[in-house]
């Protein structure tokens, strides 16, 4: 059962990647990746002068990938429904959960890749020439891994849920982007407030970070469970 589900999800992952990465806009993707890499250098300069600047840097790095995965997820379900390709896919042998898991996994992995591309060059630069010695590149990496990475998953799953419950692709996109924006504001408040209060003490920062990471992962697991329970073919097609 599980290997079959994984195989079916892999077919959908490959299809999504082929659609997004290889065909949809090759030149557009190159430009976007260049922009994300450039942003990883620019973001620290923009916020580096602030007292809590270094903690905001990972949030700034996450901005573009979060917005992109939100838009992709809304397009992948609600957009595909409007292009009338989803119904044919649902009329095939693939289980609806495999289709949905494949889409979520494809976009999550792409989001993580974009996050890596958008943060790694900047992180390297911070190691060579730190903006603020109070927050080490190691803490920034921990924020990226523990906070931002589950945030990417959350935006993808929320995008899928929103697409299930809204009939229009445009409305799904707006709601998902609003959620991504809300999440970034929340992350900023956290960075400035709670985590920022512990800056300068690496061991004291580790505990709240671990709590936040665990909390976010739990929320992600809950949302994924909701998604898998809520998915039905008629709901994916927005019928009734």
């Amino acid at each position: 059962m599980l290997p079959s589900m994984l195989f079916d999800s892999w077919i959908v992952i490959a299809k999504e990647w082929r659609e997004w990465c290889c065909v949809r806009a090759r030149s557009g993707w190159s430009m976007l990746i260049l922009l994300i890499i450039a942003w990883s250098f620019v973001a620290p300069v923009l916020v580096g002068g602030l007292a809590t600047g270094p903690l905001l840097i990972p949030v700034m790095w996450a901005a573009l990938p979060l917005v992109l995965v939100g838009a992709m997820m809304a397009d992948s379900i609600a957009g595909e429904r409007e292009r009338q390709t989803l119904e044919t896919l649902l009329a095939s042998r693939l289980p609806e959960r495999a289709i949905l898991l494949g889409k979520v996994a494809a976009i999550t992995l792409l989001g993580w890749l974009l996050l890596f591309l958008g943060s790694f060059p900047g992180l390297l630069q911070q190691m060579v020439k730190p903006t603020d010695a109070a927050v080490s590149p190691a803490t920034m990496s921990a924020v990226l891994l523990g906070v931002i990475t589950p945030c990417v998953v959350m935006v993808v799953i929320v995008g899928a849920l929103v697409s299930l419950y809204t009939a229009s692709a445009r409305f799904a996109l707006l709601l998902t982007l609003a959620f991504a924006g809300f999440l970034m504001v929340g992350a900023t408040v956290l960075a400035v407030g709670w985590v920022g209060a512990h800056s300068g003490n690496a061991s004291a920062t580790a505990t709240p970070l671990a709590v936040i990471a665990a909390g976010l992962t739990l929320v992600d697991a809950g949302l994924l469970a909701w998604l898998l329970v809520a998915v039905h073919r008629d709901r994916l097609l927005a019928i009734g």
């Binding site: 949809r24 390709t85 097609l237």
Partner: protein, 317 residues
């Protein structure tokens, strides 16, 4: 007698207080081409969705290939080829990429995959264009590619929602021949929906007429055509004026009158009106050379059935 490929009993689907499919009993024989004929909004697409398990029934049951649509929809979809109203192709992918995706979904063996794709694309003359993105294709070509996709896994049942819409006449004939071969030589069951009674008569072994979710009649096209009281008469002669045509059409027992050169065709709602029409033509001063009364076509019978159903509906209101 083999078990029906599709069997529905009192199948019903409501959306809110609107009944889209209303207690339908269908039995589609295995190895037949079966047509669901109905106007727009009759519930044809919803019926296809119900049969595929894309929408659950509100009441009643449906069995396809022996599987219950409520409990074994996955097994049904695994054995069914589908072309829905829209071709449902990924327009940014090439024809080959689209087919390869579905060949993987149907788990065709790797060795068989390429051969099967080539065979079907060549048959529909799409092979030379296999590396082109589908976005630039004409609707006819997209429709053909969707047909190829539906046939990839050699399905036992083919569900086609308005399959000839947008096809030119030659392609329609090719499709008819292919569907007939699939059903009568390879034993697949083909269920199509259509708005065109002429197509249903030409293509289908059996026809069910659907209107506003209700089954009005079903049977072989020739039997359906004869069952109604309708008839078709052709009067040859000269002097058929526009006023005469209008006068004939204004009668309640006539559904349509058309003049083509020296030939006046009249579709009668009631066969007994034939003599009255001839009198009317003679009294108008037209020269009548011959009068021929034909049995009604499926088209005439279909139109009469829809009119009767509409009249009954308004009488109830």
């Amino acid at each position: 007698m083999p078990a029906p490929a599709v069997l529905t009993q009192q199948l019903t689907r409501t959306f809110g207080d609107q009944t889209v499919i209303d207690h339908i009993d269908l039995a589609v024989p295995s190895g037949a081409v079966y047509g669901i004929l109905g106007p727009m909004g009759a519930g044809k697409t919803t019926l296809v969705r119900l049969l595929l398990g894309l929408v659950p029934p509100s009441e009643g049951s449906a069995h396809l290939l022996g599987y219950d649509v409520r409990t074994h929809a996955d097994a049904i979809r695994a054995r069914t080829g589908v072309v829905l109203e829209a071709p449902g192709l990924y327009e940014n992918l090439t024809a080959l990429e689209n087919l390869d995706l579905y060949a993987r979904i149907w788990r065709l063996p790797t060795a068989d995959r390429a051969v099967r794709i080539q065979q079907l694309l060549e048959h529909l003359e799409l092979w030379p264009r296999r590396h082109e993105r589908v976005a630039g294709w004409s609707p006819t070509m997209k429709h053909k590619l969707a047909m190829v996709r539906a046939l990839l896994h050699r399905p036992a049942l083919l569900l086609l929602d308005e399959p000839t819409t947008g096809l030119d006449r030659l392609d329609q004939e090719l499709l008819r021949a292919d569907l007939s071969r699939l059903a009568h030589q390879e034993g697949a069951t083909v269920l199509i929906t259509t708005r065109d009674p002429a197509e249903a008569a030409a293509l289908c072994d059996w026809v069910a007429i659907l209107q506003q979710g209700r089954l009005l009649a079903h049977g072989e096209p020739a039997v359906l055509a004869q069952r109604s009281d309708t008839a078709h008469m052709v009067i040859r002669g000269r002097g058929f004026t526009a006023d005469l045509v209008r006068l004939i059409e204004s009668r309640r027992d006539v559904s349509r009158a058309v003049v083509d050169k020296e030939c006046l065709s009249v579709e009668l709602v009631c066969r007994s009106a034939c003599a009255a029409i001839v009198n009317l033509v003679v009294e108008s001063g037209a020269d009548v050379e011959s009068v021929e009364q034909c049995h009604a076509s499926l088209e005439t019978a279909y139109r009469a059935l829809l009119e009767q159903a509409n009249a009954a509906k308004y009488a109830v209101r």
